[in-house]
């Protein structure tokens, strides 16, 4: 009976550890790629200056369930890919499959091409935890 109790206790501890790992991602900053279309972006671009600091290419790691987030802090509608972001609105996408995705991001005056590459995470433990989270 004592062995059974010991085993159950051990299992409980393991479940607790797994639960904590799920509740607290190891590195939150690495899991969310946030890009901001800043206030005045459309106005600056209309004057010929670069507006939004959006990279041409970003890479997300699939196994870590990395998330892309684009927030429009400008007072004008911005276009991200085939849809529009109202002022103050965010677009968030968590990619579940590896691949290359094209996003065309425009304010009202300018076009930014943006390519997102989603790669597999080689860490099997992270893949397992991400699978549990899904």
């Amino acid at each position: 009976m004592k062995k059974l109790l010991l085993l159950a206790g051990l299992f409980l501890l393991m479940a607790l550890a797994a639960g904590l790992a799920l509740l607290q991602p190891p590195d939150p900053s690495a899991r969310m790629a946030v890009f901001i279309i800043p206030e005045g972006a459309a106005a600056r671009e209309s004057r010929g200056f670069p507006a939004a600091n959006l990279p041409k290419a970003i890479t997300l790691t699939l196994g870590a369930m990395d998330t892309l987030s684009i927030r429009n802090e400008d007072g004008f509608v911005a276009r991200v890919g085939p849809f529009k972001l109202e002022p103050g609105q965010s677009f968030t996408q968590q990619y579940d499959r590896p691949g290359t995705y094209e996003l065309i991001c425009t304010t009202i005056y300018h076009v930014e091409n943006m390519q997102i590459t989603v790669i597999e995470n080689p860490d099997p433990l992270k893949r397992f935890l991400a699978g549990l989270q899904k």
């Binding site: 409980l12 085939p82 849809f83 972001l85 103050g88 499959r97």
Partner: protein, 208 residues
């Protein structure tokens, strides 16, 4: 006397063991709650009201008003029947997703808006969408009717002449599915690489 002690000890161990099992079950429930299903598409936050529109339904000629579909998860797709790949693939995914929903299937409405009214006659459109699902709704309006809707949804439509081909031209068009929640808000866009399981999951999330 010794025997009684031993019995007491075994009962106590058994109770303790049962408590541990209960704790494990509670923890499993907690973990299940933490990994609640999420939307798998590209999500807008905060969601804005979906731009309303009304276009004739090719099945009966009556206008379908988007806002009249409140209470459902509405998938809006802009395409054309001569589309060689993306349109049939997407409609097929949506049809499979609908089948996966069981009793909730009738709360998933699929609207196919033709971006090629010149070639997509009402009969052709009706037969086309019914080949995927009897209840898919096909809407067809004139180019003038379509323009404000395409603008509202930022849908790009570009005709590409195909000289020498039987179809005459192909159309480049936005291939995302726009998803409107039961409250009439544009909640997300679903990309063409989404699976039927992804779509069914999102409909379930929206109908909760």
């Amino acid at each position: 006397m010794e025997i009684e002690k031993s019995d007491f000890s075994q009962k106590s161990d058994f109770l303790l063991f049962m408590r541990l099992i209960k704790s494990l079950a509670l923890m499993a429930l907690l973990l299940a709650g933490c990994s609640a299903p999420r939307l798998r598409g590209g999500v807008f936050s905060p969601p804005a009201q979906a731009a309303d529109f009304a276009l004739p339904n090719v099945a009966n000629g009556e206008k379908v008003v988007l806002s009249s579909l409140r209470g459902n998860a509405v998938m809006i797709y802009f395409g054309y029947t001569t589309c060689p790949d993306i349109c049939p693939m997407t409609l097929s995914t949506l049809a499979r997703a609908k089948k996966m929903l069981g009793s909730d299937a009738d709360k998933m409405k699929v609207i196919f808006v033709s971006v090629d009214p010149d070639r997509d006659t009402p009969d052709k459109l009706r037969d086309y969408v019914r080949a995927f699902d009897q209840n898919f709704i096909a809407l067809r309006g004139s180019e003038d009717d379509l323009l404000p809707i395409l603008t509202d949804y930022q849908v790009v439509v570009k005709k590409n002449p195909q000289p020498g081909s039987a179809i005459g031209y192909s159309i480049d068009h936005t291939a995302f599915v726009f998803v409107v929640d039961p409250a009439g808000k544009l909640r997300e866009v679903i990309s063409t690489n989404a699976t039927a399981d992804d779509v069914a999951n999102d409909v379930r999330v929206l109908l909760r």
